[in-house]
């Protein structure tokens, strides 16, 4: 049994896959430095290597479609502990079969990747819906989210296309990094700062003078589109899970 330790990044994972093929390793286990190491067997550190990663990534396209390849990345962003291993199995299977294996939903790794990618995709879609920007005094549209999966890399393009004429930032409070658009490009920025601003304290100090007014109007609108005769709380919560509420102005008590 070979144990490969990679740095936890996607590039690192692809470098590990490269190593597996380069040395024709059998029975490989992938772990990150945070995970406990197995007691027995060979242990090898994988150095993340962009060119090697790129070769694996490009190589996949010989057999599977671009959409299927994108699913591998989405499944990776689920951050599930078992996923690197499943992705390795999937890629080994694809390279061994030299065929479009993405359609074999009777294969456990293919099915797992497909289903996990779908979950991540749903979270991506929900974040496109539930980001709420607040306009700061510096004319920055600023939002905080806490997605279940690491979806900021997936939503970046959506927001770049949509808000091409305003500066914005979306901050992932769980993973402590954000994406920032400066009217030209989107960059990822790491930082750790106090998100309590979001909860309504100090709002006047940091936000544009009209900000509170528009939040209030949105709350007002939200309250008035409801049809009381059709109330259905279970359905409401199914579509708008409670865990998102703390960042949604329409679910805050009116100020």
């Amino acid at each position: 049994m070979h144990t490969l330790v990679f740095d936890g990044s996607f590039q690192g994972l692809l470098s590990a896959v490269f190593t597996v093929f380069e040395y024709k390793l059998q029975q490989v286990q992938l772990v990150t430095p945070q995970q406990p190491l197995p007691l027995f067997g060979n242990r090898q550190e994988v150095i993340t290597h962009t060119a090697q990663a790129q070769r694996v990534w490009n190589g996949l396209l010989r057999y599977i479609s671009p959409e299927a390849r994108q699913q591998l990345y989405k499944a990776f962003l689920s951050e599930q502990d078992t996923m690197p291993q499943i992705l390795l199995t999937y890629m080994q299977y694809a390279f061994a079969q030299q065929a479009a294996v993405e359609k074999n939903f009777s294969h456990p790794a293919v099915l797992a990747v497909h289903q996990t990618a779908q979950k991540v995709h749903r979270e991506k879609h929900r974040m496109e819906a539930f980001v709420r920007f607040h306009l700061t005094k510096d004319q920055l549209y600023y939002a905080v989210v806490e997605p279940d999966f690491n979806v900021l890399p997936l939503i970046s393009e959506h927001f770049e296309k949509r808000y091409a004429d305003q500066q914005w930032m979306i901050y992932d409070a769980r993973r402590k990094y954000g994406i920032y658009y400066d009217l030209t490009t989107v960059t990822a920025i790491e930082m750790d700062f106090n998100t309590s601003l979001q909860q309504g304290r100090n709002i006047a100090a940091a936000y544009d003078e009209k900000e509170e007014q528009y939040q209030h109007l949105w709350q007002q609108y939200f309250a008035h589109v409801n049809i009381a005769a059709r109330k259905n709380t279970a359905l409401h919560i199914r579509h708008m899970p409670l865990r998102y509420w703390k960042y949604l102005p329409e679910k805050q008590p009116a100020r």
């Binding site: 359609k103 009777s106 004429d165 305003q166 009217l183 109007l217 005769a229 059709r230 109330k231």
Partner: protein
């Protein structure tokens, strides 16, 4: 000024909420020149859900709830004693832009009561859309209500600025319309629909040769029918919908379960429950017509003019057509597999893709994500676990219902065990 806007918003959102159209998908409008917004790219986005569970994707408001007409089913009708309000053009534009910039909405759905006359009203709706597009470089979604009776020239302009247009027919038949909205006539509603259809088709034709043609209502037309206010059966409703899809090429037909809002002896009394299950069944049937290749006549027919209330229309069709089943999932055409209760379009395609690698067993099917307990009466596959017996339709129905009830048992009172 804030308080006034706030009050108007309350009144005019309230009055618009019975219009059920909420779609913000199907447009092709892309952000150009670093403008604001993007309505291209398939799926629309629901940004919030009301407490009744409906999607909020657009700022859906009336320009005004003043109205010279007096349609019995409408809150804004002239004889109703409600507070009236009207937005100015700029107020609507500001609200839309500011909500959109904060990612509250996908765009604007603008409808209106009729002040003065159709053209006067339509002109204002068009002006708002025009301002958003030309002065604010806005590429978000705009849905305008086409006011029946407005001139063709205004309809044409509306098509240039809006992504979608809709004329609500409101009542499934002419007789009901006569009864509840005597000042309106069906021809006034169908005429703009027809005009827009012709324009949209013509535009698509021209688009083939000239690439830089501006968009014209790229997300098409939709309409709405009120259900349960009048005695039409589901067959009448679905045949009407079928007519709109086939002859008018509408993108969507919406069904709105009537919410009693006034004491009018032509209408169900206040307190009559909203026909939510029926409305849901109509949407299911509509979905089957649009995505599953069902003809209206397969779902409802003179000998069963109503959709079943206790089971969904696909199961109901399968039980009436047991001679088609069981299907061998390893051989049958995808179109037929889609018709199996418990198997959706997505799963049907997965099955057909996966069976080229392996003969599928019931275990594969379950993992792929079909509702096996429902589908099992209608399919065969490889290996043990396929037990198609000679059940009668009634037996299958009872078993499936029993399963559903046990799943929801804690939610029901003991009385339900009577079924």
């Amino acid at each position: 000024m804030n308080d006034r806007i706030s009050e108007k918003l309350s009144i005019l959102a309230d009055a618009a909420k019975y219009d059920v159209s909420c779609s913000s998908s199907g447009s092709k409008r892309e952000n150009v020149n670093k403008g604001l917004g993007n309505a291209a790219g398939g799926m629309g986005i629901c940004h919030a859900y009301t407490e009744d569970g409906r999607c909020v994707s657009l700022l859906k408001i009336l320009l005004t709830n003043y109205c010279i007409f007096n349609c019995a089913y409408c809150v804004s009708r002239s004889s109703n004693d409600v507070k009236r309000a009207a937005f100015t053009v700029d107020e609507v534009v500001e609200l839309t832009i500011n909500f959109y910039r904060r990612n509250y909405i996908e765009g604007l759905f603008l409808s209106s009561g009729i002040f003065k006359n159709a053209d006067y009203t339509m002109e204002r709706l068009v002006l708002i859309a025009k301002k958003l597009r030309t002065e604010h470089n806005f590429h978000g979604y705009i849905h305008l209500k086409a006011i029946p009776g407005a001139s063709n020239e205004l309809m044409r302009q509306a098509g240039l600025y809006a992504d979608r247009l809709s004329v609500n027919v409101e009542m499934p038949t002419e007789q009901s319309l006569q009864l509840l909205a005597p000042e309106k006539n069906r021809q006034d509603m169908l005429q703009p629909m027809h005009y827009l259809k012709t324009q949209i088709l013509q535009h698509q034709e021209e688009k083939k040769t000239s690439r830089h043609l501006p968009l014209f209502a790229p997300a098409g037309q939709s309409t709405q029918m009120v259900i349960g206010a009048t005695p039409e059966n589901d067959m009448q409703v679905l045949l009407m919908a079928n007519y709109f899809y086939k002859k008018m090429q509408l993108k969507r037909v919406y069904y709105s379960g009537y919410v009693p809002i006034s004491n009018d002896n032509r209408l169900p009394a206040i307190g009559t429950p909203v026909p939510m299950i029926r409305e849901n069944r109509l949407y299911q049937a509509d979905w089957l017509m649009r995505f599953y290749g069902f003809a209206a006549g397969e779902l409802v027919a003179p000998d069963h003019p109503h959709l079943d209330m206790d089971i969904d229309p696909k199961l109901s069709w399968a039980l009436r057509n047991l001679h088609v089943f069981p299907l061998d999932v390893n051989k049958a055409d995808v179109e037929l597999i889609m018709r199996v209760p418990g198997i959706g379009v997505g799963s049907a395609h997965k099955i057909v893709a996966a069976r080229r690698f392996n003969l599928l067993t019931h275990d594969h099917l379950q993992k792929i994500g079909i509702a096996y307990n429902r589908a099992k009466y209608f399919i065969t596959c490889k290996g043990p676990g396929t037990l198609v017996k000679d059940y009668t339709p009634l037996q299958i129905k009872q078993q499936i219902l029993a399963m559903q009830h046990s799943k929801y048992q804690p939610n029901f009172s003991p009385q339900l065990t009577l079924f």
